[in-house]
């Protein structure tokens, strides 16, 4: 027997989803508008504003920086996070439980505080180059995602398979790469992609670590918005939404989007 849902709740749900998706539709509409100002519904349709993105070197440059930073930061975080997640899942008795909390500290400490503290000690304290400071900052804030998503995959992995390989004479390293890794592939891909989008969209860390010459796309967008108000920003936003769609497709194919409700 299915319980009936009160009609008022249905109406409320419809309104909620209109509220969630409406603003995004507004952005897409105003990106297509054939006017020099932002308006919705669009008046005339044009792709001019998309072409215009590539005329503004600040956008193309920061787009490249953001993309490379997200790939490099996530890769670094994976290389560090996967062994940690493996150790936490495999050696549950040997490691103290609080270690799990240590790895989520980067989301527990307010990001803006972390950004400020990193800027204070890295960029100005040690004179670390901006790009390197950004890389470390991004690897750090995505670490909780890599450790936890890969960890979720490892928790459902039966380590006795690995033990069987080792007891039959397979070296431990080889056993990890040929037995464990293929089994947690979905978790690694999903963790990578979630970390990637987090890094790509980051504001609070980057705002402190970007400087003259080096900036990321979200920071450039923020700066642009305060001076200009033309549909170019809307078209960049639409491109970023395209990245979101791609990310969702990958997560759906690996872990399934319902993973995010757990």
């Amino acid at each position: 027997m299915k319980t009936r849902i009160h009609p008022v709740l249905i109406v409320l749900t419809v309104l909620t989803f209109l509220f969630l998706l409406g603003p995004l539709v507004v952005i897409i509409g105003s990106a297509l508008s054939d006017t020099t100002y932002l308006t919705f519904p669009p008046q005339g349709l044009t792709l001019h504003w998309f072409a215009n993105i590539f005329e503004i070197s600040a956008f193309t440059r920061t787009m490249g920086t953001s993309f490379m930073l997200a790939v490099a930061g996530t890769t670094l975080s994976m290389l560090i996070g996967i062994p940690a997640a493996y150790a936490m899942a495999r050696y549950r008795i040997e490691l103290p439980a609080f270690l799990g909390n240590v790895f989520v500290l980067p989301i527990l400490i307010p990001e803006i505080v972390l950004g400020f503290s990193l800027m204070k000690s890295l960029a100005s304290g040690f004179g670390l180059p901006i790009t390197l400071a950004l890389l470390v900052g991004h690897a750090l804030i995505v670490l909780p995602y890599t450790v936890r998503v890969v960890g979720a995959s490892l928790n459902s992995f039966d380590f006795s398979i690995e033990e069987a390989a080792v007891s039959l004479g397979c070296p431990r390293i080889k056993a990890f790469f040929t037995v464990v890794l293929p089994n947690i592939r979905a978790g690694i891909i999903a963790g990578f992609i979630l970390a990637f989008i987090t890094s790509l969209n980051d504001v609070s860390i980057s705002i402190f670590l970007t400087g003259p010459g080096v900036s990321t796309l979200p920071i450039q967008l923020l700066a642009h918005m305060e001076q200009f108000f033309d549909p170019t920003i809307a078209s960049v936003s639409v491109l970023l939404m395209g990245v979101t769609v791609a990310v969702m497709a990958v997560v759906e194919r690996t872990l399934g989007l319902t993973f995010l409700t757990k």
């Binding site: 027997m1 849902i5 490691l95 500290l105 400020f116 204070k120």
Partner: protein
């Protein structure tokens, strides 16, 4: 090699990353606040005695609290319906909630800039239907910040609660109903107690997230609606008052960690499964 040694070796790079690039810098920020020659707590005294700084702190608390209450209410009702939808519709609705969640905060705040601006969509619409004669100034108000924040956090609340509400077996509510409980009583005595831990987790995420946000108050609140995040940035990068900025940072950490600790204690106490 013993298992213990191997486990620690594998975890070491991650521990070092967190310790060197989070632990030490954040501790250094705290240390800065106690280094004042006028006494170790003088920076805090200055903070809590300053009318302006306290206004910012209370405003941030208020915005975060109102955002949390609205997001919990909307999120709970929506998640309740989503969790009870048949498979296909449910997946579609979950996709519709994940999409804004994975879209960047700058893009999502920008949307509200377009909607609420002086020549924005809402003003144009209201003028067209003749509801107002002059465009209203809706931007740079507490209201505009709260609307954009609720927009930011409702998807998170829905996704957190759908999982929790799905976990409540249909048999439970059916049993309550068959024993004569009214729908309202079933909700209050069966559903709500089981959903409370999830509600608290979601509420803590929303509260700490909005309390420490930067991009949204920067774009929709501006100088007029300064919040802790924008205040910290302004002190650090515009006036270069690093001690002042560190004090703001310390207050932010204390508020968020206290909230997390207290609420997770409360959640554990209220959890019917643990009792």
């Amino acid at each position: 090699m013993s298992n213990r040694l191997r486990a620690w070796l594998l975890a070491t790079p991650a521990i070092l990353l967190v310790f060197i690039f989070l632990g030490l810098p954040v501790l250094a920020t705290f240390a800065t606040t106690f280094g004042d020659p006028k006494g170790p707590f003088s920076t805090y005294a200055a903070f809590f005695n300053s009318r302006f700084r306290m206004t910012v702190l209370w405003r941030t608390m208020e915005v975060a609290l109102v955002t949390t209450i609205i997001s919990v209410a909307i999120g709970f009702c929506t998640a309740w319906v989503v969790a009870r939808m048949p498979g296909r519709i449910k997946s579609l609705l979950i996709i519709a909630a994940v999409f804004p969640l994975l879209t960047g905060v700058v893009v999502r705040s920008f949307a509200w800039l377009v909607i609420l601006g002086k020549n924005g969509i809402l003003n144009n619409f209201l003028m067209k239907i003749g509801a107002i004669a002059e465009p209203l100034s809706m931007l740079y108000t507490q209201g505009s910040v709260i609307v954009a924040m609720v927009y930011l956090f409702v998807p998170l609340m829905i996704l957190t609660l759908v999982g929790v509400l799905e976990g409540i077996p249909q048999d439970m509510t059916d049993a309550a109903a068959s024993l004569g409980a009214t729908p309202a009583a079933t909700f209050r005595q069966v559903v709500l107690p089981m959903a409370v831990p999830g509600l608290i987790v979601g509420a803590v995420l929303v509260f700490t997230g909005s309390f420490t946000s930067y991009a949204t108050p920067q774009l929709l609140g501006g100088e007029r609606q300064m919040m802790m995040g924008t205040f910290l940035y302004q002190r650090a990068m515009v006036t270069f008052d690093w001690v002042g900025a560190s004090t703001i940072a310390a207050v932010m950490v204390v508020v968020t960690l206290t909230t997390v600790l207290i609420m997770s204690k409360v959640a554990r106490k209220l959890n019917p499964m643990a009792g």
